[in-house]
């Protein structure tokens, strides 16, 4: 590159030459590594584009500055070290970029993301940019609290093992009075669900103020618990305009004896971390509804993939996260969803390109997040849900409980029976993927609520092509 004097001469210089591209760079164990999908403007060299992303997400500005020479600037420069064409996608490139740990404040998602998804996403020389995955070093993970409760402790508190948990979102999501709302909660819990849930936009509107809702919901929870002998819960949504309001609502939920509260993703990373700390301090499970994520996670060329959001949320410290259903009404390719679930639930996530997971990730003892499957699912899909999503998941049947022709309790019972009969069959070694419909039909002979549920929804499916799919497919080998 020539002399230092040459390098720091005033003027504009390609990012790659400023030190943001280093093909020989070997990432350190303590580096944060990002995998970006870059779509350069026509005529922009992909390596220069990758270097620009590295530069703009770390120390660079558009021109050379002599003040770099007052710092150990080599350390602080992010380094693009690998650029590969995206298979089958003309004009798109996967770029690996490494960041030194010293670039980030300990325990702060806000600080991490201000760099990684800051200015750089509006950078003109790129048509589009997507953060596909991140490798978070163990050293950095250890500065985060992680899930306040986690899957293991949540199950121990609830005393529920060996099967997915069951939930439902109260419907209609808006308009019910508090007293009518609590009725839905009671019926669903008594009928067999473990949890009922506020929807994301239930906060404190004129038809139902939050204190009223909390009081009626806790009556419902306790009454259902006494009726069944089980621990039950209702996710009380404490999302509000200010942090002070959220603390006030969460404190009230705790005073009433709730075991779980809920927040929306739209409250922001800092507020989420604050609520996670509050939840840890107050023995509370923290449910996160991912309201808003579809605006930036769904399109493949631009934004942030949901697996990255899931990683940030596990670090930030939530216990539940909506993570896709595969078979329901919302976006979800089976492979991509599997990758996201693994990010939530594993102690060590292995690289798996078919699932969109680009890095091995050691979770450094951070507790596990419970994924939540919600949106357009019903009892007739139980064998598919268990096959795709496994056991550590909350299956939420909102319409599939409340819309049951024999009533809400019957709807809940149908779901619970379908679940238990399928887990039992799976444990007995039966092939539930193929025998599932038969197993359900058999149970429906003695369980009329299940029979009615199957008759109502049997043929409901949402077969649309997914937008967010993996770019790598398994290579066929000769057999």
């Amino acid at each position: 590159m020539g002399s230092q004097a040459e390098r720091y001469k005033s003027g504009v210089m390609p990012y790659a030459q400023m030190g943001y591209w280093d093909a020989d760079y070997v990432p350190k164990d303590t580096d944060v590594i990002c995998l970006f999908r870059i779509t350069p403007q026509d005529g922009v060299d992909p390596i220069e584009a990758a270097a620009a992303v590295a530069g703009e997400s770390s120390t660079a500005t558009w021109t050379v500055v002599w003040t770099d020479r007052l710092t150990a600037c080599e350390n602080y420069r992010a380094k693009a070290f690998r650029v590969d064409p995206v298979p089958g996608q003309q004009g798109q490139f996967f770029s690996h970029i490494a960041y030194d740990l010293d670039l980030f404040e300990d325990g702060s998602i806000a600080n991490l993301t201000a760099s990684i998804i800051g200015n750089v996403f509006g950078f003109k020389p790129l048509k589009a940019l997507r953060l596909e995955d991140m490798r978070i070093p163990v050293a950095y993970l250890k500065t985060f609290q992680g899930p306040a409760t986690g899957i293991v402790v949540e199950r121990e508190r609830l005393d529920k093992f060996g099967r997915p948990l069951l939930g439902a979102t109260t419907k209609p999501k808006l308009g019910l009075s508090s007293k009518n709302y609590g009725r839905v909660v009671y019926e669903a819990l008594k009928g067999g669900l473990d949890f009922v849930k506020d929807d994301e936009n239930i906060n404190s509107q004129s038809f139902m103020h939050w204190r009223d809702r909390f009081l009626y919901c806790m009556e419902a929870v306790n009454k259902a618990s006494a009726a069944t002998g089980e621990v039950k819960g209702h996710y009380l949504n404490v999302t509000a305009a200010t942090m002070e309001d959220m603390y006030e609502r969460a404190d009230f939920a705790k005073d009433l004896g709730s075991n779980i509260v809920m927040i929306d993703l739209v409250i922001g990373y800092t507020a989420i971390q604050s609520m996670a700390k509050w939840a840890r301090r107050n023995d509370m499970i923290l449910h996160l509804h991912r309201a808003g994520h579809g605006t930036y996670t769904r399109q493949k060329t631009h934004g942030v993939s949901f697996r990255v959001i899931a990683k940030w949320m596990r670090m930030a410290g939530v216990d539940h996260i909506h993570a896709g259903t595969v078979v329901g009404k919302l976006e979800g390719d089976p492979n991509v969803i599997k990758g996201i679930y693994n990010v939530c639930r594993e102690s060590f996530t292995k690289q798996n390109l078919e699932q969109g997971v680009f890095f091995d990730q050691d979770w450094a003892g951070l507790r596990k997040m419970m994924p939540v499957a919600s949106g357009g699912i019903h009892a007739g899909q139980m064998h598919q849900l268990i096959t795709y999503l496994g056991e550590d998941v909350v299956l939420q049947f909102g319409g599939g409980t409340i819309g049951h022709p024999q009533g809400i309790q019957a709807g809940a019972t149908a779901n619970r029976v379908a679940l238990e009969v399928m887990i039992k069959a799976r444990n007995e070694g039966r092939d539930i993927w193929n025998e599932g419909p038969e197993i359900l039909a058999q149970a429906a002979r003695w369980c009329s609520p299940l029979r009615a549920a199957l008759d109502t929804w049997r043929d409901v499916t949402f077969n649309y092509t997914s937008t967010d799919t993996a770019d790598f497919v398994p290579t066929a080998t000769a057999s």
Binding site: V152, R155, E156, D159, F161, G162, R163, G192, L215, M218, E219, N222, K223, S225, A226, A227, T228, G229, E230, V231, D255, L256, G257, E346, S347, K368, T413, R416, V417, E420, V421, I423, K424, N427, E428, G429, W446
Partner: protein, 139 residues
Amino acid sequence: MKITQGTFSFLPELTDTEIKAQISYALAQGWAIGVEYTDDPHPRNFYWEMWANPMFDLKDPAGAMMEVTGCRKAHPRVYIRVNAFDATHGFETTRLSFIVNRPAREPGFNLKRHEIGGRQIQYTIESYATEKPEGERYE
């Protein structure tokens, strides 16, 4: 009422063959079987009496069934459950837990409402059975 704690409480009572199949599954996962019983089924009574220590070295489900049968013989009128413990790193907890014996009549729970100012209520759940001393419940 019927208490619905445990993995399979919404199904008809499991037969011994079905219980054995679940135990076989748990053993195949490398989990240890433990049998517990109680006459206090409060939802937050986490510590049921252990019939014996979990059977860490047991490979044959018939051995676990013998413990279930023995516990049933000694405590025929109370709740008995089979637990499976997983010592795998990152789990280290119960992975399966289901009821295999219950009293002929389950009196259920009383929900006590203690009004504590404003509209707030403090709730207490009490098992009707525990109104009697230990050993005399479910006679």
